[in-house]
């Protein structure tokens, strides 16, 4: 009876429990690598497209090594897509200066920057989701805390995540009871919607309060503790240094162009 299913929020946690190579990497290492990845990807100029291509290697490798289904991850990324679209959608209209040519088709600067924004969105949001999917929120927050993130933020993040489940469960129950009484969520009058959302908020707050009480009753004092505190192994260092070196190299040299140059025998 888990209504959280319609948001599939629990799926990320399930993936994090798999015994796969990507899941075994230390949470701190994965957090740092993801951060370097995001910084590198975001630092490109707005018209850059080809240089971003090598960065797809990281998410693809993690999907494979973490046994994370690509379709599921893509659906999650799509949920956030409207935000990126809102940022990029006007570029093709305002920036019409021709920038590149693909055979007979000229591509304007606007379309290039649109593609660049969408690619960077895909890469960064994907990397962040992969980080959670192969680490788990609890372990990740504990890792971030030991990396020096202020405890208040780590605990906030943990609670925010837990709250998502709470709201999803309450919301699922309310929708079910609506459906049982023949109502359809999309066809409700505005007044009912208002009341529904108000109820959802109050119920979720009350439930969050009970969960917090249960935590406090078992001695929770703001510190996240783990049963098996992780220590860095050789493979963790390898993961950290290998990927960081790759990202920095890809940032300095346009690996896609280099490869293209090599393949075409250096003629172009």
């Amino acid at each position: 009876m888990n209504a959280g299913h319609w948001l599939e929020v629990d799926r990320l946690e399930e993936l994090a429990r798999l015994e796969a190579p990507a899941q075994r990497v230390d949470a701190r290492v994965k957090a740092v690598v993801t951060l370097v990845f995001v910084v590198c990807v975001m630092s490109y100029s707005r018209y850059q497209v080809s240089a971003l291509m090598p960065f797809f290697l990281y998410p693809i490798a993690m999907l494979a090594r973490g046994r994370i289904p690509a379709g599921y991850l893509f659906r999650k990324i799509l949920m956030a897509a409207p935000f990126a679209l809102a940022v990029a959608v006007f570029n093709p209209f305002f920036d019409r200066a021709p920038m590149a040519a693909l055979g007979p088709v000229t591509i304007s600067g606007g379309w290039l920057s649109f593609a660049s924004v969408m690619l960077r969105f895909l890469l960064t949001v994907g990397a962040a989701l992969i980080l959670v999917a192969c680490t788990g929120m609890h372990r990740l927050c504990a890792g971030l805390e030991s990396l020096g993130m202020p405890r208040v933020f780590a605990v906030q993040l943990l609670f925010l995540h837990r709250y998502l489940f709470v709201v999803a469960e309450e919301g699922g129950r309310m929708t079910r009871s609506l459906e049982m009484r023949g109502a359809r969520l999309r066809a409700l009058p505005g007044r009912v919607y208002g009341s529904l959302l108000g109820h959802l908020l109050m119920r979720a707050l009350a439930r969050a309060d009970r969960v917090y009480r249960a935590m406090v009753a078992r001695g929770f004092d703001g510190e996240i503790r783990l049963l098996r505190p992780t220590s860095l192994r050789g493979s963790d260092w390898g993961f950290l240094l290998g990927w960081t070196a790759f990202f920095v190299a890809a940032r300095i040299w346009n690996l896609a162009d280099l490869l293209g140059g090599l393949l075409s025998g250096g003629v172009s």
């Binding site: 629990d10 609890h138 469960e169 439930r207 969960v211 009480r213 249960a214 009753a217 078992r218 001695g219």
Partner: protein, 247 residues
Amino acid sequence: MSHHVVEARGLGYVYPDGTPALADVSFRITHGEAVAVVGANGAGKSTLLLQLAGCLLPSSGEVRIGEVPVTAQTVARIRRSAGLVFQDPDDQLFMPTVAEDVAFGPLNAGLPPEEVERRVAGALERVGMSRIKDRPPYKLSAGEKRAAALATVLAMEPDVLVMDEPSSHLDPRGRRRLIEWLVSFAHTRIMATHDLELALEVCSRVIVMEGGAVVADGPIRDVLNDEKGMLAHGLERPHSLRHAHPH
């Protein structure tokens, strides 16, 4: 072993929104006693339990657990000696797996990892749930959830067990197993329940509440057998007492 004594003296509580919940509640529960708190819905049972577990602080009067008054300063100590089992196990289970959930309390108590592991294994074994230790709590059946919630509290090795509706949502077999555990525990046990038959089997004493006050307190068979009194407080005389034959 004065650890296990639970006492309320003139306890009163008003919720922050102004709703009065408890008024002048007094009782003393001694070591190893099993006490049922019964009463109609809204009689103040759940609020009383939150007080006894150190989740709420009294507005007036006092609560003493093991001769220590519950105050903002002592509340951390109180929470270690009184274990509260919530009415809805979903409120109590919030970690990714059952084992991690059971480990949550002992870890917060700062115990060394080997001791935590020992307590987790012990508590799960006690409620027969060792086989589900690596499963996520939300995938369990209601009976398994109840057992897991109980294990999270047992792992803290409390002196006093405080339970809100322990038998709700349980099928007859699950309920029977629960009764066996409750009878076998040596802790001081305080449970709010509408399941009067369970109360009769587990508890020797009953506290009847109405409108936030204690209206009866005594040996369970005597109090529950009083048909008039029971009806007056929105309760019923239990079936098993009605048909009991004198021996």
